[in-house]
Symmetry: C2
Subunit: 247 residues, 2 copies
């Protein structure tokens, strides 16, 4: 489905709190939607613990394989915030203080500014910085990797600010049919339509406990004609009275 010349993306979610269930991960869906709107497929998400070598290994692997990589988590000032050090290790660079960020931190905290606060100005040597009025501190970028915070509010602001740099996508066209039948009676139709429309990604999702429909069938491609053709073919194979909605 994915043209190899089109940009791709991966995410690395870092944090013991996600893997222990103390916190429900909330950033991937936000990233996935933003990338999708930009016409980029998020191909892979890896979630790992706060461990410097694991982070370094994963970032290296993802950055080599995908056009864009986004990390979530581990960028605060405390002992369990290891992302900057790990990415410096992955790229074999020193960790240095970014003076413009340090100046912003000093100005924000004034007399209460501590060494701890200033750790948030550390970055791998040679990183670039995404500055925006909507984010308190700049976002660190090193080659094709962006370092985002785990706190959902901060993740969103920073993602909005950096998205203009994420180029190389081709927008998707998405349509959906909501059907009153469960998936069982739809299988034959879906099998043959998926086969006849290989450039359209067709998804089938059962829904429990919704009185209005039982299966959502989605049609996605990078051109509208293909999507419309596959959707019409599907509508032709399902009894009209079983169709709840077409989007």
């Amino acid at each position: 489905m994915t043209d190899s010349k089109v940009s791709t993306a991966a995410a690395l979610v870092i944090g013991n709190e996600i893997l222990s269930g103390k916190t429900a991960e909330a950033n991937v869906v936000v990233l996935a939607r933003a990338l999708r709107l930009a016409g980029i497929v998020l191909e892979r998400v890896v979630t790992i613990r706060d461990d410097i070598d694991t982070i370094a290994t994963e970032v290296r692997a993802l950055a080599a394989r995908y056009t864009w990589v986004f990390t979530s988590g581990g960028v605060g000032p405390t002992h369990d915030d290891l992302t900057v050090a790990a990415i410096a290790k992955a790229y074999d660079r020193n960790v240095v203080i970014h003076e413009p960020t340090a100046a912003m931190i000093r100005s924000h905290y004034g007399d209460t500014c501590t060494e701890g606060h200033l750790r948030m100005a550390l970055a791998p040597e040679g990183a670039t910085f995404v500055v925006s009025e909507s984010t308190r501190w700049p976002t660190v970028r090193i080659e094709n990797v962006f370092l985002l915070p785990g706190v959902p509010e901060a993740f969103r602001y920073k993602l909005d600010a950096l998205m203009p740099q994420i180029v190389g996508g081709i927008p998707f066209v998405s349509r959906a049919v909501f059907v009153r039948l469960d998936e069982g009676p739809l299988v034959t139709a879906l099998d043959s339509i998926a086969l006849e429309h290989p450039n359209v990604e067709i998804g089938s999702y059962p829904k429990w406990g919704d009185p209005t429909y039982r299966t959502k069938v989605t049609f996605d491609a990078r051109d509208r004609e293909s999507v419309d053709r596959a959707l019409e073919a599907f509508l032709g194979r399902v009894p009209k009275e079983e169709i709840a909605t077409v989007e």
Copy 2:
């Protein structure tokens, strides 16, 4: 932190709908909490698209490295449900029909039972099955891998039913301190306490927009004494009036 003799776990989340942002992933937090209660660390979660070779490769890699592996998604009857076929491929086995499951499906759907419904009785040859009154169909297990559905309600029922098979954990003791300060002024105390209590996992999590506290500091270990000692040491380093709650 993790004793190498203690059971570990990984999860594989399968589905284009998660990576396109159409659906927010909801099963990992449920799995993480259940494993944590059983004293097992969820070490890694990988989220991938509906692709048979990718699923096969990932399952093989995770099953070799972790005690228990849980897949989420791709077990329905339609063309995009590839998990059974992929896992059969990973273990070099045929896909066969599990007659007891097929009988349950026939009995449930009666006259409306289709070939599509019966696809849900397919499993890799040599799989075992977790049967429970709370789940409609048995859960497929192959060696240390459990195949769970992506639909959150079904995932929960099936997970509850299989948890008694998940052995080898040592329960955690978890405590937390909610502090009115941000992370900056806590850095020095946390650094030294993390260093002095290496067998306690100490986490620090900033919270935005909560009037009652600004940082949650967590203490986790497999024995209560170690947790209590680290927590007391931390309380001794923070001004009393800045402590909101101790759990």
